[in-house]
């Protein structure tokens, strides 16, 4: 973390990737920053799925959806308690043709999160024409809100 946040230099209280990954996998709502066609920033809340340490989300194939292919930063808040917040800077790009096996797993993840409460579930053919995006984390900053100063952790990925 940048200096000035009062985060101690020691490792005591830091989060493990296992803990952070568990929070991301459980989260149902994610914040995604993109840039508009004019280069300005834009933040939205988005549904998505964490699978195999990658974040998949739908954004459609409309111009507005394609804009999100430039997403490079994402955050997550866990449920309404916002126990965790994480952000990632990531390589990015449209994931236009997932394998059938991957598509099936993404469908299952979406279905588990959103079908019962919101009546939404994609199908394995939902992304045949594009509209599925993948974010591969390069860096994640994570902390527990209630003990930010002691828990703030930066994780980097090779």
């Amino acid at each position: 973390m940048p200096s000035g946040y009062g985060v101690p230099k020691g490792r005591t209280g830091m989060l493990t990737w296992t803990e952070v990954r568990a929070a991301l996998e459980k989260s149902g709502r994610f914040w995604i920053a993109t840039t508009n066609p004019n280069g300005g920033p834009h933040v939205i809340q988005q549904w998505g799925a964490w699978l195999d340490d990658r974040f998949y989300f739908e954004a459609g194939t409309t111009p507005a959806g394609r804009r999100t292919s430039r997403a490079t930063s994402a955050s997550s808040s866990r449920a309404t308690t916002a126990t965790w917040r994480s952000s990632s800077t990531a390589s990015r790009g449209p994931h236009r043709s997932p394998t059938a096996a991957l598509a099936e797993r993404i469908v299952r993840s979406y279905t588990a999160r959103y079908k019962r409460k919101y009546g939404y579930a994609p199908t394995v053919s939902s992304w045949d024409e594009g509209g599925l995006y993948v974010v591969t984390p390069a860096k994640i900053l994570a902390w527990v809100v209630a003990r930010f100063n002691k828990s703030a952790t930066k994780l980097t990925f090779g």
Binding site: P2, S3, G4, G6, R29, W31, A33, T34, T35, G39, G40, P41, H42, V43, I44, Q45, R70, A71, T72, S73, A74, S75, T80, A82, R85, S87, T89
Partner: protein
């Protein structure tokens, strides 16, 4: 429904409640940069405060455009504008104290000021140029 330029009463009340904001700026390479922020609604402006040397002041000096998302579940308000440097020195310290009191209360804010005084704080403000909100706040 498209965006509008002014907050209605419900949107203002939502932003005035104590919630974190997700603030996006633009990095030198054109990628977005997202941080969780304390913020304050002050008239028709949004104020936030940071420390010199961090990414945000550098980004804003090059490209002042910001997008701020505040949400509670699926209820949200997103505002956008161009941020300007509004205060430094003691005035910026007064701003961060005001924010700390809003989010953490008087006692915690008093304790945090010792740390804030070791930093070169800077306040930014932006006039709300666009508002977009969830249907329940329109």
């Amino acid at each position: 429904m498209g965006s509008v330029r002014t907050l209605n009463a419900r949107q203002r009340a939502f932003l005035e409640a104590v919630r974190f904001g997700a603030l996006a700026t633009v990095d030198p390479n054109g990628s977005p940069h997202l941080t969780t922020m304390w913020y304050l609604v002050d008239g028709d402006e949004i104020m936030f405060n940071t420390a010199r040397g961090r990414r945000k002041p550098d980004n804003l000096s090059r490209d002042p455009r910001v997008s701020l998302l505040v949400l509670d579940g699926y209820t949200f308000v997103r505002v956008a504008g161009s941020a300007r440097e509004a205060a430094t020195g003691e005035a910026a310290l007064a701003d961060i104290h005001r924010l700390a009191v809003r989010y953490d209360g008087e006692e915690a804010a008093a304790g945090a000021m010792e740390r804030f005084r070791t930093q070169e704080r800077v306040s930014y403000r932006f006039v709300i140029e666009r508002v977009y909100a969830s249907a329940d706040l329109r």
